[in-house]
């Protein structure tokens, strides 16, 4: 690809920002829009606004559906806050176990680590499945929530990074969700049941049920999706 020659002394920095923004467009749109802007000799700011305008117009119809809203505001934002809280709780439990404290014990810690990993992976997976075309917005909102908490973290005995313990498994789940086209019913049901069992030690904590279900619903959502795929396939085979 030849470098785009913008008039009015636009720099390569402008161009790279423009290309970064245009990466949200389909490859066909990206190719022709950047070409049109180069041919018209539009300046960096003008070109940036033109691409942003097209990007918004392309995204708007997608947001008429309930799925992007659920992914962004029902999962990405609340899930990130709750998982950050749970990550800190695990880091504190780890400190007390290392420090020789008897309660809550190593078993509890291992159970919580498993639960954090399961919640994060299924949350990320569901995020990649619910609304693929708006995944980048959901991911950006999640990172925004992380930035907000990182800026306000005030526990001296812990590193700020412990807030982000959930992030690697969540990102792995997201990548897996974006690549997977079919979810197996048996596997998703096993994960959801195992996860629900792991939450049982937290059931006696007041108010914990809400957080538990806020973080567990993606796993049960995946079970419902897998069940629907299975039912459709059975209907298709029967015909």
């Amino acid at each position: 690809m030849m470098p785009v020659n913008f008039r009015n002394g636009s720099s390569w920095l402008n161009l790279s920002w423009l290309e970064l923004l245009a990466s949200g467009l389909s490859s066909g749109d990206r190719e022709t829009v950047l070409g049109d802007l180069a041919e018209a000799g539009e300046t960096g700011a003008q070109a940036f606004l033109a691409v942003a305008g097209l990007l918004i117009r392309r995204q708007l119809p997608v947001w008429r559906n309930w799925r992007p809203w659920l992914a962004a505001f029902g999962l990405a934002i609340p899930g990130s806050f709750l998982l950050m809280g749970f990550s800190v709780s695990i880091a504190q439990t780890y400190q007390s176990v290392i420090g020789g404290g008897v309660s809550p014990g190593l078993t509890m810690l291992l159970g919580d680590i498993g639960l954090l990993a399961a919640w994060s992976v299924t949350g990320g997976f569901a995020l990649g499945t619910i609304s693929r075309r708006t995944t980048w917005i959901s991911a950006a909102l999640s990172l925004l929530a992380c930035g907000f908490c990182l800026g306000r973290f005030r526990i001296d005995s812990l590193s700020r990074l412990c807030l982000l313990l959930f992030l690697p498994p969540a990102m792995a789940g997201l990548c897996f969700g974006l690549r997977t086209s079919r979810i197996r019913f048996g596997a998703s049901l096993a994960v959801a049941i195992a996860m629900t069992v792991l939450t049982t030690p937290h059931w006696n904590k007041p108010g914990a049920w809400l957080a538990n279900w806020m973080l567990s619903w993606p796993a049960w959502y995946l079970v419902a999706i897998a069940w629907r795929h299975k039912a459709r396939r059975r209907g298709f085979d029967a015909r």
Binding site: M1, M2, P3, V4, N5, G28, D29, E31, T32, V33, L34, G35, D36, L37, A38, E39, A40, A50, V51, G53, L54, L55, I56, R57, R58
Partner: protein
């Protein structure tokens, strides 16, 4: 019936003929109306026209002045030409007796 902007795009594409592509249509509309149309408005309207079967688009050749990027070529279909004619006739009929139309006729 076509919208006003849809009509402008079809007419600009028809007047450019075989050389009709997105940037050229934008220039043609800017020349005719004195206002530059946004890339977003143009692309989404062309998509809508294509979905209605009024225009056909395909990726054209890349040129050095475009930074080696391809053009989006646009061709008006027979159905698109019929719709544009219908719009033009309707506008002509409705404006026949209004003052600015009569003034326009005297000027020309």
């Amino acid at each position: 019936m076509l919208g006003e902007f849809e009509y402008l795009i079809i007419t600009a594409a028809a007047s450019l003929g075989e050389n009709a592509y997105s940037a050229g249509i934008r220039d043609e509309i800017a020349r005719a109306t004195g206002r530059k149309c946004s890339v977003g408005a143009l692309y989404t309207t062309v998509d809508r026209l294509e979905a209605k079967g009024l225009v056909k688009t395909w990726m054209g050749e890349a040129t050095p002045q475009r930074g080696g990027r391809a053009k989006r070529m646009v061709q008006v279909t027979a159905e698109g030409a019929r719709e544009a004619e219908h719009f033009y006739n309707a506008v002509n009929r409705v404006t026949r007796n209004v003052s600015w139309a009569r003034r326009g006729l005297r000027v020309t």
